[in-house]
Symmetry: C2
Subunit: 325 residues, 2 copies
């Protein structure tokens, strides 16, 4: 469900009523029914609502909005666009319940709607967001964020850190692990021989050390290690030419060193339809790449495109996983 | 002429024989005739060659390849793709001669072909490239690099420095000067009320200080200062959403904090046709945004698109300058 004060529930309802989603999966919403009833009405949807306490009650064959109710949700409605600690707590409880369902095989993939970082901190959660919370819940130490926009896929080596700290956070073995995670994810996309590009950190990938030496000292050794293991990986590639090559299909994914190195190109080609995938978890998890968008929450104007793409990607990955097993 | 061992002379010849260039200007090449005679033949161009020692000899009405010969060029041909210190020196002498011509009004704009940084250092020049050399030659202290690709224009606050040093190099007054240079350049493009966006440095523009504080401490004060002077400037804008807005015409230019923040989006929308403009010089100067490309020099396969765009932009800016005077 995500943060009920944000656009999450709205984009969920809009997404699951499109044929793009209805035709490919059965969505079970994990969250609070209180949030959805008024939304169905304000969005003028013709959608019968079914509530469950346990997954074995779910009537999978019936069309409608199926909600698995979590416990402890507030007995009041959230104010759109206003952070509410109790609703932030409910969002996190819903994530945990969803992860548990998927982990036990009651559902085949987890798609999450946006949460509010400050809100979850106020609610007592010591996590940056979904990704590290899910890693914690599943005991996963080796994980990474992949973003997909159009035909560009990137895996982030560092994420939400100040730019000036990026250099000190780079580590050869960490980059090696991210290359492996990317390779495994691409195999999961049915790409037989994944070709992976690794970005440099500096202008012109350091230009032989003139503009920085992280390429030679940290990044290149990781590439050599993976290459010696038979992975088709190139780099360090000058960041400004990398995405041109990526967009034209020269590589199946890029390992990028910092948030905006990957997000600038992703948002350029797929501003409203980027998808976030957590690599390394024991199950498929995707999400739209936008936030709670408090500025437009409750106005009925949120764009469900990214949520639709997140659901489609989750379906596609879980179907492929099934066909391999 | 640029570095004769690179693709500069080839893209010049290819560019000036297109109707896109022939129809709008009279190109006078500043350099060594020795380099061009064999190229005309290998590119199978039908182009009479005219040599001059002084600009007052130039037969502006005659079609052909007009070369203003510089002194001291080597008496041997360069090897394509191999740095030659003497030819690097000749490239720099040609730049100085070209700047002198334009500075004295003998020509209306300067377009430069790529040079080799190591080569010019070996030749004894203590400059990073054209931009700071031209600033030195003209006594210009306040200058900046603007890059244009498609409908995206960016002005770089830092350029060829390691990413880890960018934060320490940011300075409020420097950003103010770059906003003014951008504003003046946009007025030169006949944009009446330029709208300028300023990028943040960090993910999500720092997210209120959580991912860095350069936005609040350095960038925002520069924006406020310019806004109080009546300039239409917004920011600091999260880098990953900025270029989407820019590409859709929400702003006429963006001020970016580091090389790849501007170059990644430019190369994505205009990989082979980016143009570099030096702002702040007493005359119009443009160049293609690629380098000497030693790997393909001498093979006849260099793409002249960026050089064509550089010449067109130079013409357009100098004509507009003339119509205002």
């Amino acid at each position: 469900m995500g943060d009920a004060a944000g656009i999450g529930p709205e984009v969920i309802l809009k997404a699951i009523t499109t044929s793009a989603v209805k035709d490919i999966c059965f969505p079970l919403i994990v969250g609070a029914p209180r949030v959805f009833a008024p939304l169905i009405s304000s969005l003028q949807l013709d959608l019968p609502l079914y509530l469950y306490r346990e997954p074995d009650q779910v009537r999978w064959a019936v069309k409608g909005l199926h909600i698995l109710e979590v416990e402890g949700a507030p007995d009041y409605l959230p104010s759109p666009g206003r952070e509410d600690t109790e609703w932030s707590r409910t969002a996190m409880i819903s994530v945990a319940r969803g992860a548990d369902l998927v982990g036990r095989g009651e559902a085949e993939a987890l798609v999450t709607a946006p949460i509010n970082k400050e809100g979850i901190h106020r609610a007592g959660y010591r996590f940056q967001g979904h990704t590290d919370y899910l890693a914690h819940l599943t005991g996963t130490e080796n994980y990474a964020m992949m973003l997909i926009g159009g035909n560009i896929r990137v895996v982030l080596v560092t994420v939400h850190v100040p730019l000036r700290e990026v250099s000190a956070l780079l580590d050869t073995e960490d980059i090696v692990r991210k290359i492996y995670l990317a390779r495994d994810a691409l195999l999961g996309f049915d790409i037989r021989e994944p070709r992976i590009a690794v970005a440099g950190l500096n202008p012109h990938a350091g230009e032989g050390g003139a503009f920085g030496n992280e390429e030679e000292e940290i990044i290149a050794p990781a590439i050599e290690e993976c290459r010696s293991e038979g992975i088709a990986v190139d780099g360090p590639i000058p960041p400004d030419t990398l995405f041109y090559k990526l967009a034209r299909g020269r590589y199946d994914a890029a390992i990028v060193m910092y948030h905006d190195q990957g997000l600038i190109p992703i948002k350029m080609v797929a501003f409203d339809r980027g998808v976030n995938i957590t690599l390394g978890l024991p199950f498929v998890r995707t999400s739209p790449d936008h936030g709670t968008a408090y500025d437009i929450a409750g106005r009925g104007i949120a764009n469900p495109r990214s949520m639709i793409e997140a659901i489609k990607t989750a379906c596609s990955l879980s179907l492929r996983g099934r066909s391999h097993s």
